[in-house]
């Protein structure tokens, strides 16, 4: 496992995901992907579901990847990587590997669309079969690539193009699906949440290094603040990520073997949820007097979840 030390050391890593891609300026996907693929010295085979990352990093005749990469469709990133991993196992058993001296690891990237929704079956199947791979969900809480439609990862009150704020609606009515816990319940040896926050680059890189080197299916749910669909200025991506953690809207934790939860970061001063919601245009309508109750609901849900995590950690489950 690659040891993640100081950032000054980590920044010596030859970057395996290059620029020249067409992701939005300030896109958090790229920050997360760069950290994940650079968190290991092993060779990588990567699969990606249709979505912002795939569409922007492989527009014929250009590719932004320094590693082998495959995109098949929207709902089969996990199945694709499972196939590649099975081929690796078969060739190893038959002693027909292409390079005996290289270790190859398998990573799949999917947006919240390709992971929470349409790709869920394929992910669940691949994890249940125990393939040795890491699945990273790049969660920007909507189908950003197609113009910001809601997904099951969209939180309550969010304005999306299919749950728009309007005269008689306040936006998304459903709660965000708790995919991290669902994946932990699958019995993955390692599951974690991560975010590209200014204080949390090391948390993300360490978790990626650990997840890649762990044998078996591992899952990282990475919140990816989306400047285009969450409606904030491109330069504020990292700040929004920080706010998500400081308000406990997105707690950073990891679960080993499905039943040992560790909280990785406790904000010294838990900020009120208004700080996080107020910084994003997609929630601006919640600050109207008739919608204030949604902010209260938000705070309640955040507090309850934070409390639940702490109790689980204390109980050692």
């Amino acid at each position: 496992m690659k040891k993640i030390g100081s950032l000054k050391e980590f920044a010596c890593t030859p970057d395996r995901f290059q620029g020249g891609h067409r992701l939005c300026p300030g896109c958090a996907h790229s920050m997360i992907v760069r950290e994940v693929v650079n968190a290991t010295d092993d060779d990588l085979v990567i699969s990606t579901a249709t979505g912002c990352l795939e569409v922007c990093s492989a527009i014929y005749p250009y590719t932004s990847w320094d590693v082998s990469w495959i995109h098949i469709g929207f709902e089969n990133a996990a199945a694709a990587i499972a196939g590649a991993e099975a081929m690796h196992k078969a060739l190893a058993r038959k002693d027909k590997l292409y390079n005996d001296d290289r270790r190859v690891k398998f990573v799949a990237f999917g947006g919240d669309g390709g992971t929470y929704d349409i790709g869920f079956q394929s992910l669940s199947g691949a994890v249940e079969r125990g393939h040795d791979f890491l699945y990273v969900c790049l969660d920007n809480e909507n189908y950003a690539n197609t113009g910001g439609q809601r997904s099951s990862a969209t939180p309550i009150g969010a304005h999306t193009s299919t749950t728009p704020r309007g005269r008689v609606s306040y936006g998304e009515k459903q709660r965000k699906k708790d995919l991290t816990m669902i994946m932990a319940a699958h019995g993955c040896p390692y599951v974690a949440t991560a975010i590209p926050g200014s204080k949390h680059w090391k948390d993300l890189a360490t978790k990626a290094a650990k997840a890649i080197s762990t044998v078996g299916p591992t899952f990282i749910n990475a919140l990816s603040p989306c400047t285009t669909e969450w409606k904030f200025k491109p330069e504020d991506t990292v700040e929004i990520a920080d706010l998500a953690v400081e308000t406990c809207a997105f707690p950073l934790y990891e679960i080993e073997d499905g039943h040992k939860l560790t909280i990785n970061y406790r904000p010294k001063q838990k900020l009120p949820i208004e700080e996080y919601l107020g910084a994003q245009g997609r929630f601006s309508h919640l600050f109207k007097p008739e919608n204030k109750w949604i902010i209260e609901e938000w705070q309640k849900q955040v507090d309850e979840y934070w409390d639940y995590l702490q109790r689980r950690e204390e109980a050692g489950v």
């Binding site: 050391e9 920044a11 010596c12 620029g19 920050m31 590719t63 932004s64």
Partner: protein
């Protein structure tokens, strides 16, 4: 940037199965003409970050948070024998002018500031805010 004319091949010369090789010389990490590293998104910008080497402390936050892998580093060894990354420049072909690097730069007077695209970098350094 639209696809350069010399990349626009005919039906009989497209890449087999639309498969793109990353390197033309994998040994020496020379990226192929199909690699976006050799593309440019500079025309996306209206303002650009200018790097002030004098003020930089090489914390490398800009390197880790740049979505476009713009920061060019040089590996140096510090006094305690540990290797660390020294920022030596910005790849302006790949920079979209998002401004994240300026936001995350932690120095009291920032080592990275946004300037309009048309301003010369040397000029920009002369205009740098001074310590009061």
């Amino acid at each position: 940037m639209a696809t350069p004319k010399d990349m626009l091949t005919t039906w009989d010369k497209v890449q087999f199965g639309a498969v793109l090789p990353s390197f033309e010389d994998p040994e020496h990490k020379k990226r192929s003409k199909f690699h976006s590293y050799n593309y440019t998104v500079a025309d996306w910008r209206v303002e650009k970050p200018v790097f002030n080497r004098e003020l930089c402390i090489d914390c490398d936050y800009c390197w880790v948070f740049c979505p476009d892998s713009c920061f060019q580093v040089e590996e140096v060894v510090n006094k305690r024998g540990k290797k660390q990354a020294k920022i030596v420049g910005i790849n302006y072909n790949l920079c979209k002018g998002c401004g994240v690097c300026v936001e995350v730069c932690p120095t009291p007077i920032k080592s990275l500031l946004m300037f309009p695209e048309y301003v010369d970098n040397e000029e920009a350094l002369k205009q740098w805010p001074k310590k009061d």
